[in-house]
């Protein structure tokens, strides 16, 4: 079952992972003195930009995005506008959560916000692509019986992996090792990135191994 979808998913994920790789390599070639630790914000934004662009393009091409009932330009524009609004709100939300987790409030606000942007582009953006700007659907997806398609299950796995990765990424910060990747927010964004990549690999694999047991109620 769903072999076609799994294959599509795997190739999509390969493209996204490749875009992350390129977003790391190309600036290294172009910008003098580029490094993931040293010019962390640059890396962070280049990766977020790449993931955003590639995801939007791929999902649009694949046509996963739920079909809209109306096809007027005005409706599409408002949908686009709402998506952008949600993107921004989600950045603010992640920023707040990260600050509540103990990030400095004022000192490195830019770094914190950049991390929020990265998290948004790794998680919220995918929700936007798969489910459209519909918060209720987002909340529904993250429940045991909420997944309505293979793509929903994949969404669950990648988002969970990313968030857990960012969470685990906070662990090394208090250690006194004095490594460059312990600086805020390097370890968290690296953790989120690693979690995201793991999710990209894990989601198709998990679905492939559980394809016999997966049932979706309505599609």
């Amino acid at each position: 079952m769903w072999d076609h979808e799994i294959r599509a998913m795997a190739s999509t994920h390969a493209i996204i992972a490749a875009s992350v790789f390129m977003a790391t390599v190309i600036p290294a070639a172009l910008v003098p003195g580029f490094s993931v630790y040293g010019t962390h914000l640059l890396w962070l934004y280049s990766v977020s930009g790449a993931v955003t662009a590639v995801s939007v393009a791929v999902f649009w091409l694949l046509g996963i995005t739920p079909p809209t009932k109306k096809h007027t330009v005005g409706f599409k524009l408002s949908r686009l506008f709402r998506s952008c609004l949600y993107f921004f709100l989600s950045c603010l939300f992640f920023h707040t959560v990260v600050v509540l987790y103990g990030a400095p409030l004022i000192e490195s606000a830019l770094e914190t916000f950049s991390l929020a942007v990265l998290l948004t582009s790794l998680t919220t953006l995918r929700c936007l692509c798969v489910l459209g700007p519909n918060v209720q659907a987002w909340i529904r997806v993250f429940s045991r019986h909420g997944a309505m398609s293979v793509w929903d299950t994949c969404l669950q796995i990648t988002v969970a992996c990313t968030v857990v990765g960012a969470w685990v990424g906070a662990f090394p910060i208090p250690l006194d090792w004095d490594r460059p990747w312990q600086v805020w927010p390097v370890s968290c964004s690296l953790g989120a990135m690693i979690g995201f990549l793991t999710g990209l690999v894990a989601a198709p694999a998990w679905i492939h191994y559980h394809r016999k047991h997966l049932t979706y109620k309505c599609k």
């Binding site: 987790y101 103990g102 529904r140 993250f142 969470w167 906070a170 250690l175 309505c218």
Partner: protein, 1099 residues
Amino acid sequence: MKGLPVLSLLLWMCAVYFVGIYLFVGGFLLVRLEVNRTSTCGDVLQPGEEPVDFCRVQPRFRRAVLLIIDALKIDFAWFDPNNTAPRPYENKLPVLEETVSSRPSHSRLYPFRADPPTTTMQRIKGFTTGSLPTFVDVGNNFASSAILEDNLIHQFGQVGKRVVFMGDDTWENLFPKKFHRSLPFPSFNVKDLHTVDNGILQHLYTTMVGDDWDVLVAHFLGVDHCGHRFGPDHPAMADKLTQMDGVIRSVIDRLHNDTLLVVMGDHGMTDTGDHGGESQKETDAAIFLYSPSPLFPGPPSQSEPDVVPQTDLVPTLALLLGVPIPYSSVGQVLLPLFPPHGQTEGAVGRLSQLEALWINAKQVNRFLETYSGMAKDIPPESLSQLKRQFSRLSSEYLSSVRAGRSPSPQLAASLQAYLTSVRDTCRATWARFNPLKMVVGLAILAFACLTCFVLSELSPALIRENAPGLTAPLVVALAAGACAAACQLLARGYVEVAWCLAAAALSSELLFLWRARRRGGTAAAVVPTDKNGSKAPKRAAWLTPCRLLIPPLLVPLLRCASLLSDSYVIAEGRAVTFLVFSLALYIPVHLNWDGLLLPPIHDPLKAAGFLPPAAPSPSTVRRESGVLLACLGLLVGSLYLSLSFHACREEQGSCQPSPFLSPLSRLQDSQLKNLHYVLSVFSLGLWTYLLRRCLRHYGNLNSSGGTAFAAHWVLPLLSVCLALHWAVSATPDDSFRNLAELIGLAQLALPRAAFCLVALGLSLIWLDPLTVFVKTRGRAGRGRASPLPPPSYRASTGISPQAELHHLIPQIYQRMRRSMDDGGGELSGAGEVDSSPAVKAYGLGTVYSAPLLLFCGLLGIGLLLLHPEGMALSFLLLLLEMGALLHIHASSTNLSSLHGTYSGGFNVPWTPVVLWSLAATQFFHATGHLPTFPSIQWGAAFVGFPDGHTGTLLPASLVTLNTFASHILFAAGCPLLLFWPLVCEVRGSRGARACGEEGEDAVMEMRLRENPQQFSSALLQLSTRYLFLLGAQVFASVCAAAILRRHLMVWKVFAPKLMFEASGFLVSSVSLLIGVSLVLRVDVAVGRWFKRLVPDASR
């Protein structure tokens, strides 16, 4: 309700934990009493002749230079000319070898063996007092690190020698104001290799050339810091050692004839550059002695010691410089430095070897006598043997001196042997870990944690079987204890209580576990025939990793793991907040994952398949979810704000302690002071108001019992008292001169009045915990005359005929009805009785939680009294967080029971218990405490006792109460977790399932009386879960101390953490027991009340 089994099981559990902690701490923490006597010049140490003033005699050396090179390992000091490819730390100090070979009677180089713990502070203490400093040197002044024992620096000062110090600023803390001149440099930054050394070098030579000193102490830190940073095998170490070589050369060039030079290391280092433990690499430092005038009788001979123990420096230096040996020194003079007997004629004031030994032995004997009179930790039989040895030697020596003949050379040897055996005895007592005790303590703790976990999982079965199964373990424990005592008596002749306790605890634990295992097996086998067969496989498999690695247990696991790293212990406050926040966020996510957070979507397929037919109304679900999210917001807010009340450890470099931590009287800006005061009083008022509001809401304030009295009068009065006390203590001393007496009186009276009020309130709650107000419907006239008009708390009326009067109440109800019929009916309300309940009992629904809540509230204000004023805000946050946690727990329980998926009885799941226990640690930090000794708030001992105390018990308990305030509050309030879901229950959720029909009124906590068995098992489960979480943390810190006992930070981080964790556990478990027994007390009172109601009504 079976109170006794619950309480006895908990007591047994706590006792086992205590035994484990006691054993481990006994083996790990070496404790020694400080002797506060000092030696004086008048001490009669010379035999025979009339007392000579010891210090008047011309000493061998007038001046001395002590160069202490921190971590100068003996390997660094050797020079091997054959070594062609030296490692970076080898052959870098050629000056020592050159001097020794070129001027053999002027200099010596010895290995210098330190005693563990090999940390700098303890070592400085060691080679100045001549004693064996342990981790806890119990002295008068626990708060400051100054050395109060007799020491060399003190003795130098006494005889008027000018001590000049430069280098590591630890000395300045240890000997405040003892130096003639002092140039301390900051030692804290381990990465900084040069500040201290360069600082010393700037002043060392100029000072030496001048004549303004007698003893010069210079403590270099560069080598040690280099070891910590790079390890010994690094080019930086070569540079550093070469620099030291130059320093020693220059110092030797500048020495006068009357000056002694001592170059020494305080400890060694491991191959990674660390120290602190007891391996030979860490203990073996180097000592180099040199003087321009001949120091030794001849070149090195066979009789010279191989290794010089560090304690021996003290008596040697003291006698060479002509000062009395410090009182508590246990060292032995370094004999090669003294001429043999009969060769002393050449120089004035030279003590012969035998004289020096005699003075030394006499001083050591005097110390031993004093110490054994104070403490009993030296084994008595070795003590008596040492005493016999000394008296024999002394009579021999005295007789030979009186007779004027030269004593036999054997006497010197036996004096030496005596001194050595004294030192060995002392070392065995104070300076050696007891690994066996540590291992046994660890094992007991590990098994205790396991037992606690098993107990919490098996509590329903245990209570159901009507026997807690405690008799057999107790009997076995007694037997094992007696056995251990007998064995010890037979083998060694005396009994050490620790081992009896250990045997008892371990055997009872193992027996209990074995029986539980069997019981678990039989339960799994039997249950399929039981009616709740679906739960059977779960119970059989409660130890599978799958069930143990759920997030609520993963968080405590992370917490325990974090105790093994010094960085996390240092950042503990923030780490715990992080974990609490994570677990709190997990609750709604998990609920949503189970589809419980939102009302089910109207989906025909789903509703048919997964949900019970009685789907809850969406509005109820929405309201509950709203409450949950709002409370989560409150929780998160108070978590975030609580971060701003933290204090700072010295290890946290860029950290500012909270401004609320300093008492108001220290604030200079009067406007800021007023603001702080207003804020504190506001939060105090809000604390009082919220408590009363809550009790009033549930109708508990209508009654006229002791608890209601406490809530009505004691609570507000206490707050007023506290606010006035703050105001009085914040007034500057000089502002109201004419009122000074009054202020002094108020400072004494107000806190004491508050203490009395707290005690009064708590005892009132204990004596009369019922907060129920009964109103009979038939007598509306009397109801109106009661202090409060018939309240509109319909939801709070606990008794409802349908559900509550199941077994007991129907009789009351019937009799009540009959009595009213007989009474002739002042009102024509007979018909009314049939339709609505005849008896209304206000506050019965919260009869258990109300006294407990009030208890915690009063206790909280009492504990707040011991804190600085600013902490009132933090305490308010604590209350808010407690409330938020309770509500989150209640609404998540409600949500799951609304959807019909809740199947735990009254059991409290792990998540809220974990949150509760983590919050206790979190507020330990948020009330300005830290697990370090300098951060203990000693001011708490003087609240209400501004002139100090006579005893030690009262101040110690006040400080304990202050330190563990949050532990106490959370542990005592722990049973609230059981009650709150019932207090906040949504009507028709449980009632529908319990009674099979829709209950109209809220039954709330009366449900507990309907199911006494479930009540006891849930209470037992809750408390054992809490105990398990606390015990696991203690176990983790014990493990950290045991595994990392050679870690650099063990005495700075892990050992204090262990002490705080262990005493926190002690305090928490006692308060948990108090909380549980209060609940049981309420239960007894409620039972009596029901019984009394029957005759009352029938009258």
